[in-house]
């Protein structure tokens, strides 16, 4: 299971309270696979992290894990081992913006 930390608005949409969530990734644990798993587990989040039509990451969303910025990595990029083993969470972050 992959641990995922979502921003507050997405936790509200997904109705998961304040906790991090856990998703099961089938196949190779990649960046794209964990995003697919998040959307499959929480359909209300479809379109909120990646654009519904283009599948591109929304400009004000970033992906962090193990003190690395994965935001600009390709979907087939493997997740860090610590994330795959559940030792570290995968972070979906709403960029700080607006003043």
């Amino acid at each position: 299971m992959i641990r995922v930390v979502l921003p507050a608005h997405l936790r509200t949409l997904a109705r998961v309270g304040n906790d991090e969530v856990q998703v099961e990734v089938s196949g190779q644990p990649t960046l794209g696979a964990v995003l697919d798993a998040i959307e499959a587990s929480y359909p209300a989040l479809r379109g909120t992290i990646r654009d519904c039509v283009t599948d591109k990451r929304r400009p004000f969303i970033r992906f962090f894990a193990c003190e690395q910025d994965l935001s600009h990595e390709a979907p087939n990029t493997p997740l860090p081992d610590a994330v795959v083993k559940g030792a570290e969470p995968f972070l979906v972050v709403g960029a700080t913006a607006g003043g």
Binding site: P7, H9, L10, L13, A44, R46, G47, T48, I49, D51, C52, V53, R58, F60, I61, G94, A95, A97
Partner: protein, 371 residues
Amino acid sequence: MSGVRLLVGTRKGAFVLTADGKRDRWDVNGPFFGGWELYHLKGSPADPNRIYASQSSGWFGQMIQRSNDGGKTWEPVGNKFAYEGVPGTHQWYDGTPHPWEFKRVWHLEPSLTDPDTVYAGVEDAALFRTTDGAQTWSEMPGLREHGSGPQWAPGAGGLCLHTILIDPSNPQRMFIAISAAGAFRTDDGAKTWKPINRGLQSQHIPNPTAEVGHCVHRLAMHRSRPSTLFMQKHWDVMRTDNAGDQWQEVSGNLPTDFGFVIDVHAHEPETIYVVPIKSDSEHYPMDGKLRVYRSRTGGNEWEALTKGLPQENCYVNVLRDAMSVDSLDKCGVYFGTSGGQVYASADAGDTWKAIVENLPPVVSVEVQTLA
């Protein structure tokens, strides 16, 4: 007992306000979707408990929410708005071609007869429809592919389709308006569209009487006279009596004819309301006085309605979707401001009262008249 329900969209959530037929005491519920922009909420005329809401965010994109119980509870529904085919380009602010990109839903217009059918006006301008209660949306591409699309240019708020009027006497006929392309009409159920901008004059475009390019802010119709439309253009208040084939100016004695909202009395098709705003570079009322203007003659002759509205130091704006009328007797009139106030009149505008005063900036106000 009859009553009313106000659906208020703001920059930071939605609010549902209810009152009985006296419209004197109000219950305020919300915020729903706190922190998100709610460009528009509207109930189905065929089932008042079915309400649709457009929820969006610069971070998380577009959501559509649906309520089946009059706004008490909500569920997210379909939010995929994909243009048909390759959408091409429209003009950008600097006149260069710019790719069509979906940004948000500005306006939701439920069908008059089917609670599961809703039209959505979006930015970049296009018309979408759902027939399954908003689970899925399909573009009605005849509008965007009308041919003049490459000439459409965004207004300051974006290239938005913000007004959708359904002709209650002819389901094949609809009217829409786009800032800044103008007004369009379909007579064949949205397969084909024609621009209906003859008579408009806009000094801020190269050809002031061009077929498209006009910054139409809002259209309004009385259901008993669907061929008579009223328009608040960027500047100028206009009317047509032949379904848009020809417009004439009815600004008359208004102190300024810039503004955003326009609406029609529920029982008097020649009584109309506007909120004059000083100018397009000063989005607030003239002289610090918030005044609704009413014409009982279908335009040209206007009276200021001020009782209960602030008459000094008031510098709020009233945006295009932020006025609505109920169908009680007497007709109720409602509007919301960028300062977070919602004003109501239970006597067709003669007197006003702020029913809430400190909401986030109000973007839209719709009222449902409940049996």
